[in-house]
Protein backbone atom coordinates (compact mmCIF):
# COMPACT_ATOMS: atom_id res chain seq x y z
CA UNK A 1 0.00 0.00 0.00
CA UNK A 2 1.19 3.48 -0.69
CA UNK A 3 0.83 6.44 1.61
CA UNK A 4 -2.71 7.42 1.12
CA UNK A 5 -3.91 8.97 4.28
CA UNK A 6 -6.00 12.06 4.03
CA UNK A 7 -5.19 14.51 6.73
CA UNK A 8 -8.36 16.34 6.00
CA UNK A 9 -8.23 18.34 9.17
CA UNK A 10 -5.28 20.31 8.00
CA UNK A 11 -5.66 20.34 4.29
CA UNK A 12 -9.06 21.85 3.85
CA UNK A 13 -7.98 25.05 2.23
CA UNK A 14 -6.28 23.25 -0.62
CA UNK A 15 -9.56 21.92 -1.90
CA UNK A 16 -10.22 23.93 -5.01
CA UNK A 17 -13.92 23.84 -4.19
CA UNK A 18 -13.58 25.96 -1.13
CA UNK A 19 -11.04 28.20 -2.80
CA UNK A 20 -13.13 28.98 -5.81
CA UNK A 21 -15.29 31.53 -4.09
CA UNK A 22 -16.34 34.29 -6.33
CA UNK A 23 -15.90 37.82 -5.18
CA UNK A 24 -19.39 38.17 -3.74
CA UNK A 25 -18.86 35.30 -1.34
CA UNK A 26 -15.33 36.36 -0.50
CA UNK A 27 -16.54 39.84 0.30
CA UNK A 28 -19.36 38.45 2.43
CA UNK A 29 -16.89 36.37 4.39
CA UNK A 30 -14.51 39.27 4.86
CA UNK A 31 -17.27 41.58 6.07
CA UNK A 32 -18.76 38.84 8.26
CA UNK A 33 -15.41 38.15 9.87
CA UNK A 34 -14.78 41.83 10.54
CA UNK A 35 -18.27 42.23 11.98
CA UNK A 36 -17.88 39.14 14.16
CA UNK A 37 -14.57 40.33 15.54
CA UNK A 38 -16.00 43.76 16.34
CA UNK A 39 -19.11 42.24 17.92
CA UNK A 40 -17.06 39.85 20.03
CA UNK A 41 -14.87 42.74 21.11
CA UNK A 42 -17.92 44.79 22.07
CA UNK A 43 -19.42 41.90 24.04
CA UNK A 44 -16.15 41.50 25.89
CA UNK A 45 -16.05 45.22 26.53
CA UNK A 46 -19.61 45.18 27.84
CA UNK A 47 -18.90 42.23 30.13
CA UNK A 48 -15.87 44.02 31.51
CA UNK A 49 -17.88 47.17 32.05
CA UNK A 50 -20.54 45.14 33.87
CA UNK A 51 -17.84 43.74 36.09
CA UNK A 52 -18.40 40.07 35.19
CA UNK A 53 -14.72 39.53 35.84
CA UNK A 54 -12.11 41.62 37.48
CA UNK A 55 -10.28 44.14 35.37
CA UNK A 56 -7.07 42.94 36.95
CA UNK A 57 -7.56 39.39 35.61
CA UNK A 58 -8.84 40.17 32.14
CA UNK A 59 -8.66 43.82 31.09
CA UNK A 60 -11.27 45.31 28.79
CA UNK A 61 -10.53 45.21 25.04
CA UNK A 62 -10.15 48.98 24.95
CA UNK A 63 -7.42 48.76 27.59
CA UNK A 64 -5.74 45.92 25.70
CA UNK A 65 -5.82 47.87 22.45
CA UNK A 66 -4.36 50.94 24.11
CA UNK A 67 -1.66 48.79 25.70
CA UNK A 68 -0.93 47.15 22.33
CA UNK A 69 -0.51 50.62 20.81
CA UNK A 70 1.90 51.56 23.56
CA UNK A 71 3.86 48.32 23.12
CA UNK A 72 4.44 49.10 19.47
CA UNK A 73 6.54 52.05 20.64
CA UNK A 74 8.78 50.05 22.97
CA UNK A 75 12.09 48.51 22.03
CA UNK A 76 11.43 45.48 24.22
CA UNK A 77 8.44 44.47 22.15
CA UNK A 78 10.36 44.68 18.90
CA UNK A 79 13.21 42.76 20.46
CA UNK A 80 10.87 39.92 21.46
CA UNK A 81 9.12 40.03 18.12
CA UNK A 82 12.47 39.93 16.30
CA UNK A 83 13.59 36.92 18.31
CA UNK A 84 10.36 35.03 17.65
CA UNK A 85 10.36 36.04 13.99
CA UNK A 86 13.93 34.82 13.57
CA UNK A 87 13.14 31.47 15.20
CA UNK A 88 10.00 31.03 13.12
CA UNK A 89 11.72 32.04 9.90
CA UNK A 90 14.62 29.66 10.45
CA UNK A 91 12.31 26.78 11.31
CA UNK A 92 10.19 27.46 8.24
CA UNK A 93 13.24 27.38 6.00
CA UNK A 94 14.82 24.29 7.58
CA UNK A 95 11.58 22.45 8.26
CA UNK A 96 9.98 22.95 4.87
CA UNK A 97 13.15 22.23 2.91
CA UNK A 98 13.76 19.04 4.85
CA UNK A 99 10.09 18.15 4.61
CA UNK A 100 10.13 18.56 0.85
CA UNK A 101 13.23 16.37 0.54
CA UNK A 102 11.71 13.79 2.86
CA UNK A 103 8.49 13.78 0.88
CA UNK A 104 10.33 13.20 -2.39
CA UNK A 105 12.40 10.49 -0.73
CA UNK A 106 9.34 8.70 0.63
CA UNK A 107 7.82 8.83 -2.84
CA UNK A 108 10.94 7.50 -4.52
CA UNK A 109 11.49 4.81 -1.88
CA UNK A 110 8.02 3.58 -0.97
CA UNK A 111 9.44 1.10 1.55
CA UNK A 112 11.02 3.88 3.56
CA UNK A 113 7.87 5.93 3.22
CA UNK A 114 5.75 3.08 4.52
CA UNK A 115 8.01 2.59 7.51
CA UNK A 116 7.85 6.28 8.41
CA UNK A 117 4.15 6.72 7.73
CA UNK A 118 2.73 5.65 11.12
CA UNK A 119 5.16 7.90 12.97
CA UNK A 120 4.54 10.91 10.79
CA UNK A 121 0.80 10.42 10.99
CA UNK A 122 0.91 10.27 14.78
CA UNK A 123 3.34 13.09 15.35
CA UNK A 124 1.22 15.17 13.07
CA UNK A 125 -0.83 16.02 16.09
CA UNK A 126 2.37 17.31 17.67
CA UNK A 127 2.93 15.79 21.06
CA UNK A 128 6.39 16.99 20.00
CA UNK A 129 6.04 20.10 22.11
CA UNK A 130 6.36 17.75 25.06
CA UNK A 131 9.91 17.03 23.97
CA UNK A 132 10.84 20.59 24.63
CA UNK A 133 12.10 20.10 28.18
CA UNK A 134 14.23 17.22 26.90
CA UNK A 135 15.51 19.44 24.14
CA UNK A 136 16.63 22.27 26.44
CA UNK A 137 18.41 19.80 28.64
CA UNK A 138 20.30 18.69 25.54
CA UNK A 139 20.90 21.96 23.70
CA UNK A 140 20.40 24.50 26.43
CA UNK A 141 17.89 27.30 26.76
CA UNK A 142 18.54 29.18 23.57
CA UNK A 143 17.10 29.86 20.18
CA UNK A 144 18.52 26.71 18.64
CA UNK A 145 16.48 24.35 20.83
CA UNK A 146 13.33 26.20 19.79
CA UNK A 147 14.41 26.23 16.16
CA UNK A 148 15.20 22.53 16.10
CA UNK A 149 11.83 21.43 17.46
CA UNK A 150 9.84 24.00 15.50
CA UNK A 151 11.63 22.83 12.36
CA UNK A 152 10.63 19.26 13.05
CA UNK A 153 7.07 20.40 13.59
CA UNK A 154 7.08 22.28 10.30
CA UNK A 155 8.74 19.37 8.55
CA UNK A 156 6.09 16.78 9.37
CA UNK A 157 3.09 18.31 7.57
CA UNK A 158 5.36 19.30 4.70
CA UNK A 159 6.74 15.77 4.32
CA UNK A 160 3.33 14.16 4.65
CA UNK A 161 1.60 16.49 2.23
CA UNK A 162 4.39 16.20 -0.31
CA UNK A 163 4.28 12.42 -0.14
CA UNK A 164 0.51 12.28 -0.39
CA UNK A 165 0.59 14.70 -3.29
CA UNK A 166 3.31 12.81 -5.12
CA UNK A 167 1.64 9.45 -4.58
CA UNK A 168 -1.59 10.94 -5.88
CA UNK A 169 -0.17 12.01 -9.23
CA UNK A 170 -2.34 10.55 -12.00
CA UNK A 171 -0.37 7.51 -13.23
CA UNK A 172 -0.85 8.66 -16.81
CA UNK A 173 1.48 11.63 -16.20
CA UNK A 174 4.28 9.28 -15.32
CA UNK A 175 3.45 7.02 -18.26
CA UNK A 176 3.57 10.06 -20.49
CA UNK A 177 6.90 11.13 -19.04
CA UNK A 178 8.34 7.69 -19.68
CA UNK A 179 6.96 7.46 -23.17
CA UNK A 180 8.51 10.77 -24.22
CA UNK A 181 11.80 9.79 -22.62
CA UNK A 182 11.91 12.38 -19.83
CA UNK A 183 14.87 11.98 -17.46
CA UNK A 184 14.51 11.68 -13.67
CA UNK A 185 15.20 15.37 -13.10
CA UNK A 186 12.67 16.44 -15.69
CA UNK A 187 10.12 14.02 -14.26
CA UNK A 188 10.62 15.50 -10.80
CA UNK A 189 10.58 19.16 -11.76
CA UNK A 190 8.30 19.21 -14.80
CA UNK A 191 5.80 16.53 -13.82
CA UNK A 192 5.88 15.37 -10.21
CA UNK A 193 6.31 18.59 -8.26
CA UNK A 194 3.91 20.68 -10.37
CA UNK A 195 1.34 17.88 -10.25
CA UNK A 196 1.67 17.66 -6.47
CA UNK A 197 1.84 21.46 -6.28
CA UNK A 198 -1.42 22.13 -4.41
CA UNK A 199 -0.45 19.56 -1.80
CA UNK A 200 3.06 20.96 -1.45
CA UNK A 201 1.58 24.44 -1.03
CA UNK A 202 -0.84 23.21 1.60
CA UNK A 203 2.10 21.53 3.34
CA UNK A 204 4.03 24.77 3.20
CA UNK A 205 1.13 26.71 4.67
CA UNK A 206 0.72 24.23 7.49
CA UNK A 207 4.48 24.15 8.01
CA UNK A 208 4.48 27.91 8.53
CA UNK A 209 1.54 27.77 10.94
CA UNK A 210 3.05 24.87 12.84
CA UNK A 211 6.41 26.49 13.23
CA UNK A 212 4.74 29.61 14.63
CA UNK A 213 2.61 27.56 17.01
CA UNK A 214 5.58 25.42 17.99
CA UNK A 215 7.98 28.31 18.51
CA UNK A 216 5.56 30.31 20.65
CA UNK A 217 4.47 27.29 22.66
CA UNK A 218 8.06 26.41 23.42
CA UNK A 219 9.00 29.95 24.31
CA UNK A 220 5.97 29.95 26.55
CA UNK A 221 6.86 26.78 28.43
CA UNK A 222 10.52 27.52 28.98
CA UNK A 223 12.69 30.02 27.19
CA UNK A 224 14.34 33.31 27.98
CA UNK A 225 13.29 35.48 25.10
CA UNK A 226 10.57 35.90 22.53
CA UNK A 227 6.88 36.77 22.56
CA UNK A 228 5.82 33.52 24.23
CA UNK A 229 8.43 33.95 26.96
CA UNK A 230 7.35 37.53 27.56
CA UNK A 231 3.73 36.51 28.08
CA UNK A 232 4.69 33.97 30.65
CA UNK A 233 7.09 36.36 32.34
CA UNK A 234 4.45 39.08 32.58
CA UNK A 235 1.97 36.56 33.90
CA UNK A 236 4.32 35.55 36.65
CA UNK A 237 4.98 39.16 37.59
CA UNK A 238 1.22 39.93 37.52
CA UNK A 239 1.53 42.62 34.88
CA UNK A 240 -1.81 41.78 33.46
CA UNK A 241 -2.32 44.72 31.12
CA UNK A 242 1.02 44.41 29.42
CA UNK A 243 0.58 40.66 29.15
CA UNK A 244 -2.71 41.08 27.36
CA UNK A 245 -1.08 43.56 25.04
CA UNK A 246 1.40 40.84 24.13
CA UNK A 247 -1.31 38.20 23.78
CA UNK A 248 -3.13 40.53 21.43
CA UNK A 249 0.09 41.03 19.48
CA UNK A 250 0.45 37.26 19.04
CA UNK A 251 -3.15 37.01 17.86
CA UNK A 252 -2.60 39.79 15.34
CA UNK A 253 0.63 38.21 14.16
CA UNK A 254 -0.88 34.77 13.59
CA UNK A 255 -3.93 36.31 11.96
CA UNK A 256 -1.73 38.27 9.55
CA UNK A 257 0.31 35.15 8.78
CA UNK A 258 -2.78 32.99 8.18
CA UNK A 259 -4.39 35.55 5.90
CA UNK A 260 -1.27 36.30 3.91
CA UNK A 261 -0.60 32.57 3.46
CA UNK A 262 -4.09 32.08 2.09
CA UNK A 263 -3.53 35.01 -0.23
CA UNK A 264 -0.20 33.63 -1.45
CA UNK A 265 -1.69 30.18 -1.94
CA UNK A 266 -4.60 31.58 -3.91
CA UNK A 267 -2.32 33.60 -6.17
CA UNK A 268 0.05 30.69 -6.72
CA UNK A 269 -2.65 28.15 -7.45
CA UNK A 270 -4.94 30.21 -9.65
CA UNK A 271 -3.02 33.35 -10.59
CA UNK A 272 -0.60 31.43 -12.79
CA UNK A 273 -3.43 30.10 -14.88
CA UNK A 274 -6.07 32.03 -16.68
Amino acid sequence: MTLRLTERAETVARQPVSRRRWLGKGATSAVATAVLIVVLGLIFQACSALGLWSEADVPAPSTVLAEFGRLLGTGEFWGDLGRTALEVLLSIVFGCTLGLFAGVLFWKLPRVGRAFEPYLVSFYAVPLVLFYPVMIVLVGINASSVVILASVMAMIPMALNTTVGLNGIPPVYLKLARSVGAGPRRILFSIALPAAGPFVLAGLRMGVVYSLIGAIAMEFTTAQAGLGYRIRYLYETFESEQMFGYIFAVLVLSCVITLSLQGVERVLSTGGRR
Partner: protein, 254 residues
Protein backbone atom coordinates in the same frame (compact mmCIF):
# COMPACT_ATOMS: atom_id res chain seq x y z
CA UNK B 1 -2.99 -5.38 3.11
CA UNK B 2 -2.00 -6.44 -0.32
CA UNK B 3 -0.68 -9.85 -1.14
CA UNK B 4 2.58 -9.61 -2.95
CA UNK B 5 3.70 -11.13 -6.17
CA UNK B 6 5.14 -14.53 -5.40
CA UNK B 7 8.47 -14.13 -7.17
CA UNK B 8 9.51 -10.56 -6.58
CA UNK B 9 12.46 -9.62 -4.40
CA UNK B 10 14.28 -11.73 -1.83
CA UNK B 11 13.14 -12.52 1.65
CA UNK B 12 14.37 -9.33 3.41
CA UNK B 13 12.96 -7.05 0.74
CA UNK B 14 9.60 -8.69 0.95
CA UNK B 15 9.60 -8.39 4.71
CA UNK B 16 10.27 -4.68 4.46
CA UNK B 17 7.25 -4.33 2.20
CA UNK B 18 5.23 -5.00 5.30
CA UNK B 19 4.53 -1.72 7.03
CA UNK B 20 4.58 -3.25 10.48
CA UNK B 21 8.03 -4.73 9.93
CA UNK B 22 9.32 -1.51 8.39
CA UNK B 23 7.92 0.56 11.23
CA UNK B 24 9.39 -1.81 13.77
CA UNK B 25 12.80 -1.60 12.10
CA UNK B 26 12.62 2.17 12.28
CA UNK B 27 11.60 1.95 15.94
CA UNK B 28 14.61 -0.20 16.71
CA UNK B 29 16.88 2.26 14.92
CA UNK B 30 15.47 5.07 17.05
CA UNK B 31 15.99 3.09 20.25
CA UNK B 32 19.58 2.33 19.24
CA UNK B 33 20.16 6.02 18.50
CA UNK B 34 18.73 6.85 21.89
CA UNK B 35 21.06 4.34 23.53
CA UNK B 36 23.98 5.89 21.67
CA UNK B 37 23.01 9.41 22.74
CA UNK B 38 22.65 8.37 26.35
CA UNK B 39 26.18 7.04 26.36
CA UNK B 40 27.42 10.38 25.03
CA UNK B 41 25.77 12.64 27.59
CA UNK B 42 24.75 12.09 31.16
CA UNK B 43 21.53 14.10 30.83
CA UNK B 44 19.78 11.43 28.76
CA UNK B 45 19.01 8.23 30.62
CA UNK B 46 19.45 5.01 28.66
CA UNK B 47 16.28 3.34 27.35
CA UNK B 48 16.46 0.55 29.89
CA UNK B 49 17.04 2.97 32.74
CA UNK B 50 14.07 5.03 31.56
CA UNK B 51 11.88 1.95 31.58
CA UNK B 52 13.02 1.14 35.13
CA UNK B 53 12.22 4.65 36.29
CA UNK B 54 8.90 4.48 34.54
CA UNK B 55 8.12 1.18 36.24
CA UNK B 56 9.08 2.62 39.63
CA UNK B 57 6.96 5.69 38.97
CA UNK B 58 3.94 3.62 38.07
CA UNK B 59 4.00 1.90 41.44
CA UNK B 60 4.26 5.24 43.22
CA UNK B 61 0.87 6.36 44.57
CA UNK B 62 1.61 10.06 44.17
CA UNK B 63 2.66 9.59 40.54
CA UNK B 64 -0.43 7.52 39.85
CA UNK B 65 -2.48 10.34 41.28
CA UNK B 66 -0.81 12.82 38.92
CA UNK B 67 -1.43 10.41 36.09
CA UNK B 68 -5.08 10.12 36.98
CA UNK B 69 -5.51 13.89 37.22
CA UNK B 70 -4.05 14.33 33.76
CA UNK B 71 -5.98 11.43 32.29
CA UNK B 72 -9.22 12.78 33.66
CA UNK B 73 -8.65 16.23 32.23
CA UNK B 74 -7.60 14.78 28.88
CA UNK B 75 -10.70 12.63 28.77
CA UNK B 76 -12.99 15.53 29.58
CA UNK B 77 -11.24 17.77 27.08
CA UNK B 78 -11.48 15.13 24.38
CA UNK B 79 -15.16 14.50 25.05
CA UNK B 80 -16.18 18.14 25.17
CA UNK B 81 -13.92 19.12 22.29
CA UNK B 82 -15.20 16.33 20.06
CA UNK B 83 -18.85 17.02 20.80
CA UNK B 84 -18.46 20.75 20.38
CA UNK B 85 -16.35 20.37 17.26
CA UNK B 86 -18.77 17.85 15.80
CA UNK B 87 -21.78 20.07 16.37
CA UNK B 88 -20.18 23.23 15.03
CA UNK B 89 -18.75 21.28 12.11
CA UNK B 90 -22.16 19.85 11.33
CA UNK B 91 -23.65 23.33 11.36
CA UNK B 92 -20.96 24.69 9.07
CA UNK B 93 -21.25 21.72 6.75
CA UNK B 94 -25.01 21.97 6.44
CA UNK B 95 -25.42 25.69 6.10
CA UNK B 96 -23.65 27.60 3.37
CA UNK B 97 -24.45 30.85 5.13
CA UNK B 98 -22.96 29.70 8.42
CA UNK B 99 -19.87 28.71 6.52
CA UNK B 100 -19.53 32.08 4.82
CA UNK B 101 -19.90 33.87 8.10
CA UNK B 102 -17.88 31.78 10.49
CA UNK B 103 -15.34 29.80 8.53
CA UNK B 104 -12.71 32.54 8.02
CA UNK B 105 -12.77 33.38 11.71
CA UNK B 106 -12.41 29.72 12.64
CA UNK B 107 -9.51 29.31 10.21
CA UNK B 108 -7.81 32.28 11.83
CA UNK B 109 -8.49 30.91 15.32
CA UNK B 110 -7.06 27.57 14.27
CA UNK B 111 -3.85 29.29 13.20
CA UNK B 112 -3.10 31.01 16.49
CA UNK B 113 -0.76 29.49 19.06
CA UNK B 114 -3.57 28.65 21.46
CA UNK B 115 -1.32 28.32 24.44
CA UNK B 116 -1.05 32.11 24.74
CA UNK B 117 -4.76 32.17 25.55
CA UNK B 118 -4.07 30.30 28.77
CA UNK B 119 -3.87 33.45 30.88
CA UNK B 120 -7.32 34.37 29.52
CA UNK B 121 -8.79 30.97 30.28
CA UNK B 122 -7.34 30.81 33.79
CA UNK B 123 -9.50 33.51 35.42
CA UNK B 124 -12.52 32.44 33.36
CA UNK B 125 -12.44 28.72 34.14
CA UNK B 126 -10.33 28.33 37.25
CA UNK B 127 -7.25 26.19 37.72
CA UNK B 128 -8.77 22.81 36.83
CA UNK B 129 -11.22 24.14 34.29
CA UNK B 130 -8.58 26.12 32.41
CA UNK B 131 -6.52 23.10 31.42
CA UNK B 132 -9.61 21.22 30.27
CA UNK B 133 -10.64 24.34 28.34
CA UNK B 134 -7.19 24.45 26.77
CA UNK B 135 -7.47 20.77 25.82
CA UNK B 136 -10.88 21.51 24.31
CA UNK B 137 -9.42 24.37 22.28
CA UNK B 138 -6.72 22.04 20.96
CA UNK B 139 -9.05 19.12 20.24
CA UNK B 140 -11.89 21.15 18.80
CA UNK B 141 -10.55 22.19 15.43
CA UNK B 142 -9.59 18.95 13.71
CA UNK B 143 -13.01 17.46 14.45
CA UNK B 144 -14.78 20.64 13.46
CA UNK B 145 -12.95 21.05 10.18
CA UNK B 146 -13.18 17.38 9.21
CA UNK B 147 -16.87 17.13 9.96
CA UNK B 148 -17.61 20.36 8.09
CA UNK B 149 -15.66 19.30 5.01
CA UNK B 150 -16.95 15.75 5.20
CA UNK B 151 -20.57 16.89 5.26
CA UNK B 152 -19.98 19.44 2.53
CA UNK B 153 -18.35 16.90 0.25
CA UNK B 154 -20.92 14.17 0.72
CA UNK B 155 -22.12 12.90 -2.65
CA UNK B 156 -25.27 14.78 -3.57
CA UNK B 157 -27.06 11.57 -4.39
CA UNK B 158 -27.09 10.68 -0.66
CA UNK B 159 -29.21 13.74 0.03
CA UNK B 160 -31.53 12.85 -2.82
CA UNK B 161 -31.77 9.31 -1.50
CA UNK B 162 -32.50 10.51 2.02
CA UNK B 163 -35.27 12.78 0.77
CA UNK B 164 -36.63 10.06 -1.48
CA UNK B 165 -37.09 7.69 1.45
CA UNK B 166 -38.41 10.59 3.54
CA UNK B 167 -35.87 10.25 6.32
CA UNK B 168 -36.40 12.66 9.19
CA UNK B 169 -33.47 14.86 10.31
CA UNK B 170 -32.44 12.42 13.01
CA UNK B 171 -32.49 9.49 10.60
CA UNK B 172 -30.54 11.54 8.09
CA UNK B 173 -27.89 12.17 10.70
CA UNK B 174 -27.67 8.59 11.95
CA UNK B 175 -28.12 6.62 8.75
CA UNK B 176 -26.70 8.97 6.13
CA UNK B 177 -24.41 11.70 7.40
CA UNK B 178 -22.47 9.84 10.07
CA UNK B 179 -21.73 6.78 7.95
CA UNK B 180 -20.87 8.98 4.98
CA UNK B 181 -18.31 11.02 6.90
CA UNK B 182 -16.94 8.18 9.01
CA UNK B 183 -13.44 8.40 7.57
CA UNK B 184 -12.79 12.12 8.01
CA UNK B 185 -14.60 11.94 11.35
CA UNK B 186 -12.30 9.21 12.58
CA UNK B 187 -9.26 11.12 11.32
CA UNK B 188 -10.48 14.14 13.24
CA UNK B 189 -10.96 12.07 16.40
CA UNK B 190 -7.47 10.67 16.02
CA UNK B 191 -5.96 14.15 15.88
CA UNK B 192 -8.21 15.26 18.73
CA UNK B 193 -6.90 12.54 21.06
CA UNK B 194 -3.27 13.58 20.71
CA UNK B 195 -4.09 17.25 20.71
CA UNK B 196 -6.12 17.08 23.90
CA UNK B 197 -3.11 15.42 25.56
CA UNK B 198 -0.89 18.22 24.30
CA UNK B 199 -3.31 20.93 25.39
CA UNK B 200 -3.74 19.56 28.91
CA UNK B 201 -0.09 18.78 29.52
CA UNK B 202 1.06 22.15 28.18
CA UNK B 203 -1.35 23.84 30.56
CA UNK B 204 0.07 21.76 33.36
CA UNK B 205 3.53 23.02 32.49
CA UNK B 206 2.21 26.44 33.20
CA UNK B 207 0.20 26.54 36.37
CA UNK B 208 -1.34 23.61 38.18
CA UNK B 209 -1.18 21.76 41.42
CA UNK B 210 -1.11 18.18 40.13
CA UNK B 211 -0.68 16.38 36.84
CA UNK B 212 2.04 14.85 34.69
CA UNK B 213 2.90 18.18 33.08
CA UNK B 214 3.82 19.50 36.48
CA UNK B 215 5.86 16.35 37.14
CA UNK B 216 7.83 16.97 33.94
CA UNK B 217 8.54 20.58 34.76
CA UNK B 218 9.36 19.85 38.38
CA UNK B 219 11.79 17.10 37.55
CA UNK B 220 13.32 19.43 34.98
CA UNK B 221 13.79 22.09 37.61
CA UNK B 222 15.29 19.57 40.04
CA UNK B 223 17.57 18.15 37.37
CA UNK B 224 15.92 14.75 37.81
CA UNK B 225 16.22 13.93 34.12
CA UNK B 226 15.33 10.23 34.24
CA UNK B 227 11.90 11.03 35.72
CA UNK B 228 11.41 13.83 33.21
CA UNK B 229 12.32 11.69 30.19
CA UNK B 230 10.31 8.74 31.50
CA UNK B 231 7.22 10.92 31.88
CA UNK B 232 7.60 12.51 28.47
CA UNK B 233 8.08 9.07 26.95
CA UNK B 234 5.00 7.78 28.75
CA UNK B 235 2.86 10.67 27.48
CA UNK B 236 4.11 10.37 23.94
CA UNK B 237 3.79 6.60 23.94
CA UNK B 238 0.17 6.72 25.11
CA UNK B 239 -0.80 9.39 22.57
CA UNK B 240 1.10 7.50 19.90
CA UNK B 241 -0.48 4.11 20.58
CA UNK B 242 -4.02 5.48 20.63
CA UNK B 243 -3.34 7.42 17.48
CA UNK B 244 -1.89 4.38 15.70
CA UNK B 245 -4.82 2.18 16.68
CA UNK B 246 -7.32 4.74 15.42
CA UNK B 247 -5.29 5.17 12.26
CA UNK B 248 -5.28 1.43 11.55
CA UNK B 249 -9.00 1.34 12.13
CA UNK B 250 -9.47 4.29 9.82
CA UNK B 251 -7.44 2.58 7.10
CA UNK B 252 -9.49 -0.56 7.37
CA UNK B 253 -12.80 1.27 6.99
CA UNK B 254 -14.34 1.03 3.60
Amino acid sequence: MTVHAPNRGGMPKRLLDNQFVGGLALFIVVILAWQLCSSLTFVIPAPVRTLEVLGANLTDASYIFDLRVTAQSVFQAFLIGTLLGGLIGLGLGLSERARLWFEPLLVILNGIPKIVLYPVLLPLFGLIGAKVAMGVLFALFPVLINVATGVREMPRVYWKLASAVQANPWQKLIYVILPAIRRPLLAGLRLAVSLSVVGVVLSEFFATRRGLGRVVLQSYNHGDYPVMVATVVLLIAVAFVISILLWRWEKRLR
